[in-house]
Amino acid sequence: SNPFEVKVNRQKFNILGRKTKNDVGLPGVSRSKAIRKRTQTLLKEYKERGKTNVFKDKRFGEYDTKISPEEKMIRRFALERQKNYGKKNIYNLNEDEELTHYGQSLAEIEKLNDIVDSDSDTEEKGTLSAELTASHFGGGGGLLRKKASSGQQDEEEKPKSRKELIEEMIAKSKQEKQERQNRRESALELTEKLDNDWKEIHTLIARKPPKSERKDKEVEKPKPDEYDMIVRELGFEMKAKPSERMKTEEELAKEEQARLQKLEADRLRRMRGIDEEANKKKPSHVSADDLADGFILDKDDRCLLSYKDGKINLENEDKEEKDNEEEEEEEGGKEDDESEEESEQESANENEEDGAADSHSDLESDLESEEEAAGNKEQKKHKINENESQNVEELDPKMKAATSELPYMFAVPESFEIFKSLLAGRTVEQQLTILERIQKCNHPSLAVGNKAKLEKLVGFLLDYIGELATLDLPELRTIDKLVLPLYNLCQMFPEAASDSIKFILREAAHDMEEVIEVKGRATFPGLDTLIYLKITSLLFPTSDFWHPVVTPAFIYMSQLLTKCRITTLQDVIKGLFICCLFLEYVSFSRRFVPELINFLLGVLHISLPKKQAQGYTVVHPFTPVGKNLELLLVCDKQDLESWQKQHLPLSTVTALKETSRTEMNHIRLSCIALCFDLIKKCAALYESLPSFHEIMHPIRILLMQHVPVNEYPEKLQEWYQSALKELETKEKHYTPLVCEKKKPVPLKQYTPKIVKVLEFGRKQAGSKKEQERKQLIQRHKRELKGAIREIRKDNQFLARTQLSEIMERDSARKRKVKELLGSLATQEGEWKAMKRKKGKT
């Protein structure tokens, strides 16, 4: 282009490898482009600024490119007819509609035809002209063909548009395809028919021909060389793969140990809560992963050899095989053939015998061989359980029969009611079997929806446990057994389990909060909540620094110990139960629980006779004075004498049977003994805390100065002494605190920071996210600048147009004024001339 119109941005330094975009510009071209654009948009807008009317094209389908013109016309016509439908033309006498052909009234066509006829007849007489046939029989596509043009060229000869051509081609190819397919189908049919015919004939001459045929074939194929065959065989033969070395028992044990160590290390790490973030980034940690898929399907079929005393341990294998059989049978499901049942029983019996014979070695190998499939393990454990229970209870044959009567397939119950009815009336063993079968039949790997179903099962099971615990006679033994399947389910679905337990806890806490708001004080919850708290400690690691389930449980328990009133002996037992829970929760992590100490102090306080001088203060919910004092006080000498340390039955929590005073007193003494024991355990636990003595100070004073030791029975005195000893023997040890040293702030350095440059022209510093952010900011800045520039230019453009408008207006006015003045001047001149003439004359 014109070198005078080119603007060149001179570069100061020439940098290798840098792409330059803006070194040459064409200001004139771009300006004219911009102006053109503005006149098309901005100027238009500006000119129409005072107008509010809009032109709207309401013709049907005018701008719709999808509709072909013919169809468009048809639709328009239909619309028009619709519009006029019902409106009767008063001048139209015959109601019938006018008959048309392609929108032309037939009458008109007839008229035209006549003309055509008369025209064309001049050339060919007696034959129908093409136009005539076309218009009569609708042969053409042209809608409103003009008569004049049709005279020269026919519809067929009209040059086709590209689109039409393509369409035609497509149609053709389609047709060809169709034909080809038809041909093939017919060929197939024919061959089939031929085959059938041949078969029919073949049966007739079945005896003789095969031999000859075979011979023919043999002749055709030369006998393969033996050498070749061997080579082939060798080629195809499976290469011997190096199998895994057989592991000795020691190694197995070592591996198991390593696994446990790893889990333990994990637990410790979580307990300290140091690298929570780092932990979060890791893929979800499943602690006992081997049990997570407690199922046969995932089982490893290989049996592992292990050595024992130099001999190969073959029992494993045997056992596994049997297991397999059994599993298969169980899986095989519904066949209720008696014979099979028998065989199953037999095999089971055999197994039992096996187990009895060398149960020890089996157990050991079970525990140690970690590689053994998880499902197997679980099964075995279950079996061992069964064995044990059978050994203990001796209801072997009946139980077996009953169990085998249970159906093998269970669907996961949809609601809690169904679940309950499923388990209702069954024995504990049966319930366990049912649960196990539900779990197996609906393993997540079998179908898509199973996971959600089984997750629901966790909630049902928890509800069921809660229900069992709230019964008048709580079936704690059943719960004890049901914990096992719950644990397995929890290993499979940690999220679901944690959610349902959290839900339960939230409900409980919410209830308590409501009661506090209404009554001002709370009461201890039922046994079910206590059981849930206990189960929490079984399912989840309580030593973590923070745990989604355990931490809320902690807070809830602390609320229980601080907010709930102690009015009855049951409350004391519940409170002590929670104390035990607390102690168990922190037994590993050794965390400090102030509420626990407070509560124990309070419990001991209410076991004392009323006194004035104290030296310690009890805190809420216990009061130094009040009606609940002496709740645990036992004065009866005989009861004191006859007391034996007994385990507190948990059922007393729900319903304290109206027992004799003696028994009540015995329970009281047991509580006190439990309290002593807990104090002892606390002392052992908190020994390492720097202010151990301050923490235990009130309890120590109470124990030493107030407890009437001499009145207690000997056993209780022993408890007391051991607790006191635990408290006393700790030595006092204080070291002054020193803050952690601050990290020294590094001095400013003047050596340049060296950054590796991987790609030129791009900023390297910062992470990817940071870079992205910077890029965005930069882009935003650039856009903003561009927009501002555009707006400025728009304004300039507008100002220019306005100015030119004003100039135009002004010049027009000036011109008009000039014209007027001119005309006035001539008028004046004429008038003066007239005057002069008059004067002359």
Binding site: G273, K280, A288, V483, P494, A509, S537, R591, E694
Partner: protein
């Protein structure tokens, strides 16, 4: 002279519904001083009215801080008026002209009592103590004593001493807070661990923490979203089937 319930009610509304409308608020002086002397919850409540008298009406109250000091007993972390009391205590101890021994005694006593406090109070009182340290840097010997004796057999602080100046708080260290670093509640443990490091200059705002309730704490924890749930890897053997289960020793499943 009034029944306890009425006494408390009067004291609760005294500072904002009665005192501002009196011509001579100083007339309440005797009533409030007596109430303050009674002890317990009534003293706590009287504190507010008394503060207004001292602050706006030039009341001279001898041994005010000593009295305040003696108000600190284990129940302050458990009573209903905890928020009110700590709000006022924060006001009283905000003066930077207080002697270091006094503030140290307060710090030491508060932290000693914190050994029996529930987590909601702990979450409030630990920042409170941190604030005291910030206002009175002289007290920092309580957490940082680099050249002190290696080993002491006894905490020099005397809990039973009524007089703050005699309590030898400045010779002691905050072992209580160090113990609380092992608290079971993760937030408390974290808050207590702050004192291990040198404190930042800016004071914590504790006004939001004053009204903290245990239920709120629970709610906060229970609604936290966890990415994954760690599980117990020890196979269960029954409800009381753990190793060395405490329950098995004392409870039966009957």
């Amino acid at each position: 002279q009034l029944p306890t319930g009425l006494y408390k009610k009067v004291l609760v509304i005294l500072h904002d519904s009665i005192l501002p409308y009196m011509n001579e608020p100083t007339l309440m002086m005797d009533f409030l001083t007596v109430a303050y002397g009674i002890g317990g919850a009534i003293s706590l409540l009287a504190l507010n009215g008394l503060f207004i008298l001292i602050h706006q009406h030039n009341l001279e109250y001898p041994d005010f801080y000593k009295k305040l000091y003696s108000l600190l007993d284990p129940s302050i972390y458990h009573v209903k008026y905890r928020a009110r009391f700590f709000h006022l205590a924060d006001l009283f101890l905000s003066s930077s002209h207080l002697p270091a021994y006094l503030v140290a005694a307060f710090i030491k006593r508060l932290s000693r009592l914190a050994l029996t406090a529930p987590p909601d109070s702990l979450l409030m009182v630990i920042p409170f103590i941190c604030n005291l340290f910030r206002r009175h840097p002289a007290c920092k010997v309580l957490v940082h004593r680099p050249n002190g004796p290696e080993d002491m057999s006894e905490d020099p602080y005397i809990m039973e001493e009524e007089e703050p100046s005699e309590s030898r708080a400045l010779e002691s260290s905050l072992w209580e807070i160090q113990s609380l670093q092992n608290h079971y509640h993760p937030d408390v443990a974290k808050a207590a661990a702050i004192l291990n490091q040198s404190l930042s200059e800016i004071e914590d705002d504790i006004s939001g923490l004053l009204e903290l309730s245990a239920y709120e704490l629970f709610d906060k924890e229970v609604t936290k979203k966890a990415v994954d749930v760690p599980l117990e890897f020890e196979q269960v053997r029954g409800l009381f089937g753990k190793k060395n289960d405490i329950f098995a020793e004392h409870f039966t499943l009957d």
